[in-house]
Symmetry: C2
């Protein structure tokens, strides 16, 4: 697959006709969803990097987070910004595009080319909007498995991702254990906590309170619930950071002024920053997708699908795991990762675990974290050796 | 002052004509505010409990929190519910109405009878709305001091309150040290953190995003930004609780159903609970008041008024302090209380400090916390003895 060198022109319709490669599935290839609904025809948009080797044993699937997309290491066609995980994916990086064939697909329910509420139903020609079926993390993973089938890949060398991406990693390992050689769930949990559901519900209510949401039919009515979605993003964004990093970066610093204005202007830098986060998000994300994907995360409770035992989800697994959490992540605190590790231990799985010291909060998995880089590189290299893939020259590890 | 025995009829106009006692101040008695604006005529609504003794030495001022009001120990005239601090204020309670004269006033900028954006400007007859001047915690305290003057009280035996109420306590001690014999700032901080400002900004943006806010003029236009205010309350409410208490009370329990609905209904109890919190809040609170009072909290930075030194704010103070924090309070964590205690120590003040173990989060100061009751009772009793007030009979301490 071609790797984008320069940002393509911004498409106004990435949902139906993405600039990414796409796989179409006909009605006969419908997805049967956890809700009981059947989705078809449907499509999945994705990016790849690197070259699939002859025995198709070097494929790595990257799973993106709630508001991420398939543009993991190329310029984003909507924002023009560089990919969201270039720190981890690229030549010589942990997910080395010189050695591995990297795949990242837009999630089911997303708005960047995989079927979701922003798409038009191929059968009716009308926008799905809230008629799109509610999907789960397992549905998202099932869709990815169909793509992997299409690409002719039996076993993925590795499945990796953070946050909602990590949920997908866990779901892959549970649903398709024989298809996952190695798994890296980062900054994630095996279920969504009450507090996390609460924050998501605030975001959904903010979107749905916006009269421009039009009971979900805004695409047909030519409106966009931008204000509501911006508020949702602002609330969520606070949870992606930590109190210490907010204190370090913003504290009580005033924005371009020396004294408070005694008004409701954005006097403080943190206010200005949050408003910017809200504004820029609505330019690239669909409000209904936000509802659907937060819902998918809320519904996620892996143990619940295995009689309440998380260890049962991983029973007999041969997948090797690398679990990582971040000390200042309060959205998916280390205790969530420990629960995963305990279950893997109980299942007799091969698992390494690291809690990484940082003040950057949940978003640390996306940022420049040398310990994460070293951990993932060591894990991938060992797994590659175990898989019989050509190992990196030892001096490569130092670069 | 009479103590309400039964809930009065709900008044539709508690802002202008509260059921509470009220003090009016004429233009000549205007409040000069931190913004430079002058407010007058103005009014302050309050409740009192117990009897002021002959030398007026037994008065306790209770300061309420962001969405509280003066109805600390009587039925609320709007909701019909009992007062918000009956666990602490009443016969035989820590703030014993059989021994002390308890005062609680609605804050400046509030909506329960003290001048605020929901009031009509006596000079024009029009609703203030966003023409009401932005107020600070110091302005709120100045207004309370005028009320205390009117009541003929020179020195308050104690000033006490939690959260935004605790900010007022600290401000009282700093601005009027000779008028405060004892001070109890609970679950509070000497400044508002970046994270707290961020959450407040989300709430304000939610209100202002509601088209029924009408650029703040909703009272004149006959609308109410109920959806926006409900979203603001939902977001804030999460910060008043803790992850452990949300887990204990709600976890992932479904609401009146055995399986998820695969919809955006309130499947989870926590969603239903939050929606209820949002709905019930808008019935009793004014949206503009919410903007003004969150702003007052954001602006609070006591050290900033004293050259950046919190100790300087308390220099030479003779007030005796009792500071309390709660282990699971992440809005005003113990570190905020420690900063207050360190400053008081540096100022040579008399201070006792307790960090109370609880999973109830920030709201713990309003709840049934035996250690808080014991601490406050011990502090108040010792202070009463030092003040020469009749001490409780020792056996009274056991009841």
């Amino acid at each position: 697959m071609p790797r984008s060198k320069t940002p393509p022109a911004v498409s106004q319709n990435e949902a139906d006709h993405p600039t990414s490669p796409i796989q179409h599935f006909a009605v006969e290839e419908s997805l049967l969803l956890d809700s009981g609904a059947s989705l078809g025809p449907w499509q999945i948009a994705y990016q790849t990097y690197g070259t699939l080797n002859a025995d198709k044993s070097n494929a790595i699937l990257i799973c993106h987070a709630l508001t991420g997309d398939q543009h993991v290491a190329n310029a984003n066609p909507v924002t023009g910004k560089s990919g969201w995980w270039t720190s981890m994916v690229g030549p010589g990086k942990s997910f080395d595009t010189d050695r591995f064939f990297i795949i990242c697909a837009n999630v089911l329910g997303g708005c960047m080319g995989t079927s979701g509420p922003a798409n038009h139903d191929p059968l009716t020609g009308k926008a799905y909007a809230v008629d799109f079926p509610v999907v789960t993390i397992r549905d998202i993973v099932r869709a990815q498995a169909r793509l992997v089938d299409r690409l002719g890949i039996d076993t993925l060398f590795c499945v990796a991702g953070g946050s909602m991406g990590g949920m997908q990693v866990l779901q892959w390992a549970a649903t398709f254990p024989e298809r996952v050689f190695a798994a890296m769930p980062l900054a994630t949990g095996a279920k969504h906590s009450a507090q996390n559901i609460a924050f998501h519900e605030v975001g959904r209510q903010a979107v749905m309170a916006d009269p421009d949401w039009r009971a979900g039919r805004y695409l047909a009515e030519g409106t966009r619930p931008e204000k509501g979605l911006a508020v949702a993003r602002m609330a969520a964004h606070i949870t992606y950071l930590s109190e210490p990093v907010l204190h370090r970066k913003f504290g009580r610093k005033l924005q371009d002024r020396t004294a408070p204005t005694f008004s409701f202007d954005a006097d403080f830098e943190i206010e200005s920053y949050l408003r910017y986060q809200g504004r820029s998000f609505v330019e690239r994300f669909d409000a209904n997708s936000y509802l659907y994907l937060t819902r998918a995360m809320d519904y996620f409770d892996l143990a619940d699908d295995y009689g309440g035992s998380l260890a049962a989800a991983f029973k007999g697994t041969k997948t090797r795991f690398c679990v990582a959490s971040f000390t200042s992540d309060w959205l998916f605190p280390t205790s969530d990762s420990r629960a995963i590790v305990h279950a893997l231990n109980a299942a007799g799985a091969s698992v390494s675990f690291v809690e990484i010291e940082t003040d950057k909060g949940h978003d640390a998995f996306l940022l420049d974290e040398p310990v994460l880089f070293a951990t993932s590189r060591g894990f991938i290299d060992a797994a590659a050796r175990a898989r019989g893939l050509k190992a990196l020259d030892p001096k490569e590890l130092d670069r």
